[in-house]
Symmetry: C2
Subunit: 264 residues, 2 copies
């Protein structure tokens, strides 16, 4: 048996989230089924964290203990040949036996893509959010800056979340706008449940003038979810990268540049 | 009654082609239904030409005679509000009464997008073709150059096509490759049925080494469809632009940059 870690891209609109659940095909189940078909024995795939139904990933990290003579490259090829459409293993490498993608992670980076066209874009449903209103980028950037730092983000958390601590360090919230595309890249040591979607929904509401740009500072102070904006839908959300203390995936990235075409 | 022309973008995967047919929603029917709901009377929308099921358009041109007091801008807004998802009127302007998008057209430009990744891309099904093989661009460009000029393109025509003349002038076949994306932009005074898809399928077969680069010259000489490659699927095909002798759509393009996100 050896432990291998994988870098996985998937189209979230094709799966019922990351986590295995009865009766609905998840990304975890797709990976486990592919490996089981290949290796002839049950395996458990661990991910760096869940993603909700509709949320995409360009570089989710997962690991699995396998008993096979296939080397890393052949195992990756064989796994991809067994996977259904919409999920692909970009890279795969043998790692230390106690590597765990979730417990070892020290940071994540997400991208959220929104189109701000007057009319519903004819293309790209499921891969970008759409707001039929221009956004005030000055106000958005003011609100975004207030999110950066070490704070108690309980206001940014879906109710019902059971995390013990709601303190997180947000390293960066970058706002990029080009023509009618509006993108947010957020990086933190970790995100609470729905945190990125509430963060983006709030920035959009600030940009539209529905909320004032100081609402973020007030919410961090009060902890009140009601100070913030709508939870943005999953369509525009992409897990870009998971960070670890150790260098991972040094080999060439032969997998497809999945979303490259979508982000230009 | 006045004649208006429209610049229309649509996601071809959501419609059964351009042309109205019983029992299947076409783009033409979607436009006619939207206008009829708005104006309260039957209208006939004329297009610059048919597109097949699955073929997309960024700037298809259509015209319709309407009896309304709405000015051009309001008519466009109202029409978009009545249209289903996946089709949008980018621009609309009153034009001379005898303008006809098909008979007046003097040229068309198409884009065809292919991904050449080793594994099936997790994103973008329906919006790009996929070939799991790198392409020899030198050979592709050699074959593409042979297509340019005034030729009898009967070899590039789907059997069963009933056009009287199969002579066309291809002005340009441009091949663009970046990372694992391969795009072909073709411009001509007109295209025969399936001509762009046969042209691209042939270039791909040349690029893979299945056909030699001189097959195009031979096919133009012999007229034999069998000299050429496969008909590429509709997924990657986009009608980019229709040309007319007169200037059209001088106003601002307020419509969404539909595929911008897809082509980078």
């Amino acid at each position: 048996m050896r432990n291998v870690r994988m870098e996985v891209a998937y189209d979230g609109s094709r799966f019922f989230g990351w986590q295995r659940q009865d009766g609905f095909l998840s990304v975890q189940e797709a990976l486990e089924t592919a490996l089981e078909g290949l290796l002839g024995e049950a395996v458990t795939v661990h991910g760096s964290g869940r993603t909700d139904t509709g949320v995409h990933a360009l570089r989710q990290v997962a690991s699995v203990h396998v008993d096979t003579k296939l080397d890393d490259d052949r195992l990756r090829h064989a796994c991809n040949a067994h996977l259904p459409e919409g999920v692909v293993v970009r890279r795969l490498e043998t790692c230390r036996d106690d590597f765990h993608p979730r417990f070892d992670a020290i940071g994540k980076r997400y991208l959220y893509v929104t189109w701000t066209t007057r009319f519903r874009p004819p293309f790209g449903r499921g891969f970008a959010h759409w707001v039929n209103h221009p956004l005030d980028l000055g106000a958005v950037r003011h609100a975004a800056a207030a999110m950066v730092g070490r704070h108690d983000f309980r206001a940014f958390c879906a109710t019902g979340s059971d995390r013990k601590s709601t303190v997180r360090t947000v390293r960066d919230v970058r706002v990029v706008a080009r023509r009618e595309r509006f993108a947010v890249v957020a990086e933190a040591d970790g995100f609470l449940y729905n945190m990125v979607r509430i963060l983006v929904g709030t920035l959009i509401d600030v940009g539209r003038g529905r909320l004032d740009a100081d609402c973020v500072a007030r919410a961090l102070e009060s902890g009140a979810r009601t100070e913030l904006g709508a939870t943005a839908p999953p369509d525009g959300l992409y897990l870009l990268r998971v960070r670890y203390p150790e260098p991972c995936f040094q080999g060439p990235d032969r997998g497809p540049r999945g979303g490259a075409g979508l982000f230009g």
